[in-house]
Amino acid sequence: MVGERKWYIKVITIILLMIGTIFAGFPVLWMLLNSFKPNAEIFAWPPVWISENFTFEAYVEIFNDPEKIRFFVNSYLVAFTVVILTLLVSILAAYSFSRFDYPGKNIINTIIISVQAVPPITLLIPYLGLIVTIGLYNTYGALILTYLLFTLPYAILMMTGYFNTLPKDLDEAVMIDGGSRFRALWNVLVPLSVPGLVSVGMYTFMLAWNEYLFALALTKTNEFRTVPVGISLLMGQHAYEWNQMMAMSILGSLPILLLFLFFQKFFIAGMTSGAVKS
């Protein structure tokens, strides 16, 4: 009886594994395969899996187009700057939340948490005016500044949690030796928090790398546009260079894919922190 039940659960499990693999994996495989086809074979009927004319042409064309390379440079530049600024600001804020008690702490904390509920589209209307007024329209600054709003809350919450796990004796030991609080934070807590910082940094990178709405509305020229906007522009332009769009999608997804593969644990810890409590 028991053996029988195990037998069919096993079969169902295997079937579901196969369905899931096709469901999640096939579209991605299709993207990869199509990036190696000449554009003429994209809609061949019946579809071609691996073309006889297998080619890196789409990739070569992207790498030879300074405008497209610029999208990547912009994305990396914006994302890395956002990561660094987010880490700096969130370390300071998290230290304040973790080590002090003071009036107003809860209110500020609630405001920071509430950001997650604010739809970006609601902020976009006032942002456009503000960004034009400060003279940041169509600059990296416009993207970096506005991305901080969405990266900081998560970063501060994560880092506060991380600092809370580190005993207060650590900072007190530094202060007894005559060091300042700032030195305790910088020389002791920060080096101990590297795993937390990696998690926060990766999540921040991903948010900045993937952002579309602000990048679309707050930039005007390709000089400052990022990869997601670049891909969507390819969809509108030319007579649909599908192979190039697929190649650009692969290249545009590579940083996140690599981060996920090599730092899966950090990645998952970060992504699930909103719903799962340990």
Binding site: I9, L16, G20, T21, A24, G25, P27, V28, W30, N34, W45, L92, A93, S96, R99, F100, K105, I108, I111, S114, V115, A117, V118, P119, P120, I121, T122, L123, L124, I125, P126, Y127, L130, L145, L149, L152, R181, N210, Y212, A217, P228, I231, S232, M235, W242, M245, M246, S249, G252, S253, I256, F260, L261, Q264, I268, M271, T272, G274, A275, K277
Partner: protein, 311 residues
Amino acid sequence: MRIETETEPKTIRRLQSNRKTQFKKKSEPYIYLLPTVILMIILLVIPIFMVIRYSFYDNVIINKNPEFVGLENFKEVLTNKSFLVAVKNTSIFVGGSLILHMILGMTFAMVLNTKYLGTKTKAIFRVIFSLPWMFTAAVIAVLWKLLLSPNGFINFLLVELNLTTSQIEWLASRDFALFSVTAINIWAGYPFFMISILAGLQGIQSELYESAAIDGANSVQSFFHITIPQLKPILISLILLDFVWTIQQFALIWMTTGGGPIDATEILSTFIYKQGFSQYEYSMASTSAVILLIICTIVAIFYVRHQRGSE
């Protein structure tokens, strides 16, 4: 007497310096918080104040002296046909996404939690199952435009399997477009549920299942009497978070259908974007944006309460 007069200035000085250090001590946490607070004021408090103010005025931004109209804008928006279509589409989009995210997330999480596979095999499948999570909306949009094109792979498959005779315009026909964008969003979003539920499943003590098995419970019974109740806090969090995220979805729809054909896939965010950035009706856009903000805020309050309660 003499001694007192001598010590007095000293104590005063000490008191003053005490006050100074006390002030320094008291202000210290605020100094660490200062960059965050400044950013939050510029990027959150002022803009929200602005957009709420816009919603009570007519001809904002374009006209230098907009006219205060009270709740007129809200009346206008809430009776606007396109807005109501957007609300209806958003409800279908959000509802469909939420239900299927939950079903797929739960199913795949349980499959990945199986005892029949080794740790390494499970890790490989976990990566494959998480794949959709790793792509930005722009990539997901082009990829599915390719797959769902009339000459695309999905139609080829359906024709080969004799499920349809004609090549369906998945994203360009009024009948299928909303269904298609919802399906794409389901594909894009289920891994978040899967990974979170998987973490939850791994946290359930195996003794619970063992004692249930001894009591003669079958797997369906233990699913409903152990798994679901144990996961309940996570599931509620997931639903609330996903609601807020899905109702704000813009990029995916904007890049696949742009809200069309006509208004078949118009959701609140694309409606607001069009009102503001192609028709320059900033008052209408602001008012709709405020309505969306109110909905999200209400859900967020539930979320925060839930999170606090489960602590």
